[in-house]
């Protein structure tokens, strides 16, 4: 993953790429459940502050024609979309009390990638 580079105007987010630019739901879910809430908040705050610049930037392209640097940004944003809820909902942890065991989920094939 270390050779993944973001588009130049998003290099402030480059420090998150190795850990957070993940290309499937299972990996993002695993990531969420392997970190602490303070760690998640650092990523969340950084992404939230830039998201309204990121989305129009990505939408210059279609998913199937994303250049490689924009693809990295897309994966980073997909991870944000799938890990934002604990902070968004003011949880006190990355999971909520009495949640069904997160590691029991099996992720199967879907028709779309990413």
């Amino acid at each position: 993953m270390s050779n993944q580079i973001l588009p130049s105007q998003f290099l402030d987010l480059q420090k998150f790429v190795d850990e957070w630019a993940l290309d499937n739901e299972a990996a993002r879910y695993q990531k969420l459940h392997s970190i602490t809430l303070p760690q998640l908040k650092v990523f969340y705050e950084a992404m939230l502050s830039r998201i309204e610049i990121i989305l129009p930037y990505l939408d210059q392209y279609t998913i199937s024609t994303l250049p490689s640097d924009a693809k990295v940004l897309y994966n980073l944003t997909m991870t944000f979309a799938e890990t934002a809820h604990p902070v968004d909902l003011n949880w006190t942890d990355v999971d909520f009390p009495d949640a069904y065991a997160w590691d029991q989920f099996e992720f199967r094939t879907v028709s779309v990638t990413g």
Binding site: Y44, L55, A81, F105
Partner: protein
């Protein structure tokens, strides 16, 4: 005048009971009866034709209560068929993978070969078989019908009813409801509970105000519907359905609000829209602040039509106390990055809601299985559950 949403109740409610003794229903012997009299005779969903676009594309799936492995395949003639995943020679499993695309299936045991339309087309060392009639040795086909991209099967040799007869009036009410949508999520989880309790958890909306407070605290109801009554609720012979009230005052969370601003709002945000083009079975009462519908197809299926997305949940009993739950979510086809990002956010919110439901199913099973509860006592808002047990008892009481 009370400050309440009045539910429109539809359908034949005769013989519905609001008290359901449950202990006996959770016993292993009872489950054996359910397999024999319900699962062996009902129309069951095993997958969707969306995953079978090309000729020869196939999926292998299993039907746990009947211990069956099935191949769903689009043949060279474009027709979708369902076969038992069994080689006709000595019964080994024919396909060992999960999916693929091929003109033929070849058994790895002795290399018998079958076409993707089920015919036996190749036998190794064939001269050593006496009186072989290849046309009698094709793959064993299970009755199947495709309804709105959804593949149903019926394991009876001669099904008592066609799928159309089984579904009744609703058969023609969902035309195109899932057209142009692709599968965006497919989750499976095996839960320590009885399948009836698992499917019941999705057959009422009474719980959502309490159980879903962590994940979607304000997605349903409104000041005019503080108890989040169902605006519409209907029961039929093999189905029950209701509509849910989307809260017009829902406050999107910070990220949710931005994702949907650049794409289309989805769960848990519900916006009003022109409903003329919805099939008549979707939001049947055309409730303005519509969130989604829940359609329970007896015995073990829950379909969730919604604007911009829909889901299929299958609750497969493995045994009396283990249920294989499979949740497939679909959303509109798109190649726009912000659309996929919004869809991903929505399906994760849904996944977390599901994790709240799952926790309850296991504790409820343990309590009832202890024998400590004389009966469940059900509200009118829980009529789909009452209907589930009416349908179950109708089949269980049928003479065989």
């Amino acid at each position: 005048m009370t400050n309440e949403c009045i539910t429109i109740f539809k359908g034949d409610t005769s013989r519905l009971r609001n008290t359901i003794p449950m202990t006996e229903r959770l016993a292993p012997e009872f489950f054996d009866e359910e397999v024999k009299k319900i699962f062996s005779k009902s129309w069951l969903i095993i997958g969707t034709s969306k995953e079978l676009v090309e000729k020869g594309s196939y999926i292998v799936t299993d039907v746990p209560p009947l211990k069956a492995s099935l191949i769903i395949v689009r043949g060279e003639d474009e027709k979708i068929r369902v076969f038992r995943n069994i080689c006709r020679h000595r019964g080994d499993k024919l396909v060992h993978g999960k999916e693929g695309c091929s003109k033929f299936f070849q058994c790895q045991f002795h290399a018998w070969t079958f076409s993707n339309t089920g015919n036996l087309i190749g036998v190794t060392d064939a001269t050593q078989f006496k009186d072989m009639k290849k046309d009698e040795l094709g793959l064993i086909e299970i009755h199947s019908e495709v309804w709105e991209d959804i593949v149903f099967v019926n394991f009876e040799e001669h099904p008592a009813q066609t799928l159309k007869e089984w579904l009744g009036d609703i058969y023609g009410q969902y035309k195109g409801f899932s057209d142009n949508r692709v599968k965006v999520a497919d989750h499976r989880v095996v839960v320590n509970t009885n399948w009836n309790l698992a499917v019941n958890a999705f057959c009422e909306g009474y719980h959502n105000i309490f159980i879903h407070k962590n994940t979607v605290p304000d997605y349903q109801g409104s000041p005019s519907n503080p108890n989040r009554h169902r605006p519409y609720l209907e029961v039929g012979k093999h189905f029950g359905r209701y509509s849910a009230h989307g809260n017009p005052n829902h406050k999107p969370t910070p990220a949710e609000g931005i994702f949907y601003k650049y794409s289309r709002p989805m769960f848990p945000s519900f916006v009003q829209f022109e409903m003329d083009k919805l099939p008549i079975g979707v939001n049947p009462s055309r409730f303005k602040q519509w969130a989604f519908d829940i359609v329970h197809l007896f015995p073990n299926i829950v379909i969730g039509p919604q604007a911009n997305t829909n889901s299929i949940m299958l609750f497969w009993p493995i045994s009396h106390n283990k249920t294989d739950i499979r949740v497939m979510r679909f959303s509109y086809k798109t190649d726009k990055p912000s659309d996929r990002i919004a869809q991903a956010h929505s399906l994760v919110r849904n996944r977390e809601v599901l994790r709240e439901d799952l926790a309850t199913m296991e504790t409820q099973y343990e309590s009832i299985a202890s024998g400590g509860l004389p009966y469940m006592f059900l509200s009118e808002q829980e009529q789909l559950i009452q209907n589930h047990y009416r349908a179950a008892d109708d089949m269980l009481n049928e003479e065989t």
